[in-house]
């Protein structure tokens, strides 16, 4: 698997630091297993590694996510640590203060976890089901589109546009998400379409 990095490769890359020394546990001599016990426990000893890319700036540093859980069918992995990918040509294992703290982004207390709805004039959100939310949104979209769709302009030219609903796309979604979003949004005739390139 391309994204699975063997532990040996990882240690090799991580250890090939500036000293240029061979990997041997630095100054601790001897076998790493025994030493890990004699010094402080090494917290990544039993984790699964997955390759990813930092979601913040456009340097796109390679990261390795260390998760508990072995990716077997019934195991739900949880990322417990994130560190730079030493194989990555650009960042070479390094990460900035944002990248170094990615774990706290993944597990942020203020992540969204359930669909929420706030009605007109209401002072708080309330949880709703996905079906409720999506059905309602689709209905609002269709009603607005049917009412305001412009098939022809004043000169009689075919323009097929819908201007009363807009879509602001993101800055960190994948290309694949972007393309699917493009298809769905453009097929509706939306022109008020923008992304975060400017801000």
């Amino acid at each position: 698997m391309l994204h699975e990095l063997s532990r040996r490769q990882f240690l090799k890359a991580a250890g090939a630091g500036v000293a240029g020394s061979a990997v041997a546990a630095l100054g601790f001599g001897g076998a790493e297993e025994a030493l890990a016990q004699a010094v402080r426990p090494f917290k990544l000893a039993r984790t699964t590694e997955t390759r990813n890319t930092c979601p913040y700036c456009s340097v796109a540093c390679g990261v390795i996510m260390y998760s508990l859980g072995d990716k077997s069918k019934n195991a739900h992995p949880a990322v417990i640590h994130i560190e730079g990918d030493p194989d990555h040509p650009t960042n070479r294992g390094t990460l900035c203060p944002k990248g170094s703290a990615l774990l706290d982004f993944v597990h942020s207390e203020t992540r969204t976890k359930v669909p929420q709805y706030r009605g007109p004039g209401e002072k708080a959100f309330r949880q709703i089901s996905w079906n409720e939310a999506l059905d309602r949104i689709a209905r609002l979209m269709k009603d607005d589109r049917d009412k305001n769709f412009i098939a022809k302009n004043q000169d009689g030219q075919t323009v097929n546009r819908w201007l009363t609903t807009g879509f602001l796309a993101a800055s960190a979604t994948t290309n694949e998400t972007a393309f699917l979003t493009y298809k769905v949004v453009r097929s509706l005739g939306v022109l008020a379409f923008d992304n975060q390139a400017r801000v």
Binding site: G17, A24, L26, G27, F28, G30, V39, R40, F42, T94
Partner: protein, 305 residues
Amino acid sequence: MGLQSQDFARISATNFRPPDVRHDFEVAKLIDVSKCIGCKACQAACLEWNNLREEVGINVGVYDNPHDLTPNSWTLMRFTEWENPESGNLEWLIRKDGCMHCADPGCLKACPSPGAIVQYNNGIVDFVSENCIGCGYCVKGCPFNIPRISQADHKAYKCTLCSDRVSVGQAPACAKACPTGAITFGTKQAMLDYAQASITDLKSRGFKNAGIYDPPGVGGTHVMYVLHHADQPQLYANLPQNPKISQVVELWKGLTKYAGMAAIGFAAAFAFVHGIVARRNDVSRAEDREAEHLIDEEAARGRQA
């Protein structure tokens, strides 16, 4: 952590000298201040690797956050704006503060609790929490003002140089993260050699006093700096010109230390000390007073903080 390891060079408050069969080489972290951009990646990596979470503070008019080392913040960027009178240029001197891992560690010498502070053969000075009694002597013993006592568990904390990572052949978390390579890690000799290239480069760019900071007063350190102005380390947020272990600590050492501890009544420590050392000495009144004085001082510091 077991004290049976054969990788210790020194253990606090004991004469026990491990067999030291695996004395391979000494490690060092080199912090090239001239390459540091003050991004605090080292701080973030340290908090993440060591599962530490500092309180969210406030802004007090500077970039330094947190404002000082704490039991949860083992490293910290300290920012100094300095107008160089010679060149007329503004220089923003940014120094990563944290444990220097002295070859001759004042904290270890001051520590009265056996096995609470150890020095590995590779030079790393590590605190062993389960043996720590929170007396604060290490704070007094440190010429760099590094250890901090936790008000939650009354134990001392500081940078471990990621001894857990080093033991499996990896660099400390801060060095791994450092985006510009300002922090590097390797054998002490390799780091001294590596520093030379940077010093030569700095001299070619007009920093004629560029040099390495590896202060002899503490026997050299396992964390070293490359400074543009090595002749004036105090410019870098009061990095000491010539750090030494305090006279008090030099006096307060040897066998009498842990015995003194026992005499002033740290019962738990006593049991531990007894278990390991299995003999007692009488303690002089002077030593007793000295110990109390040190503890009071630390308590005062704690109140201020």
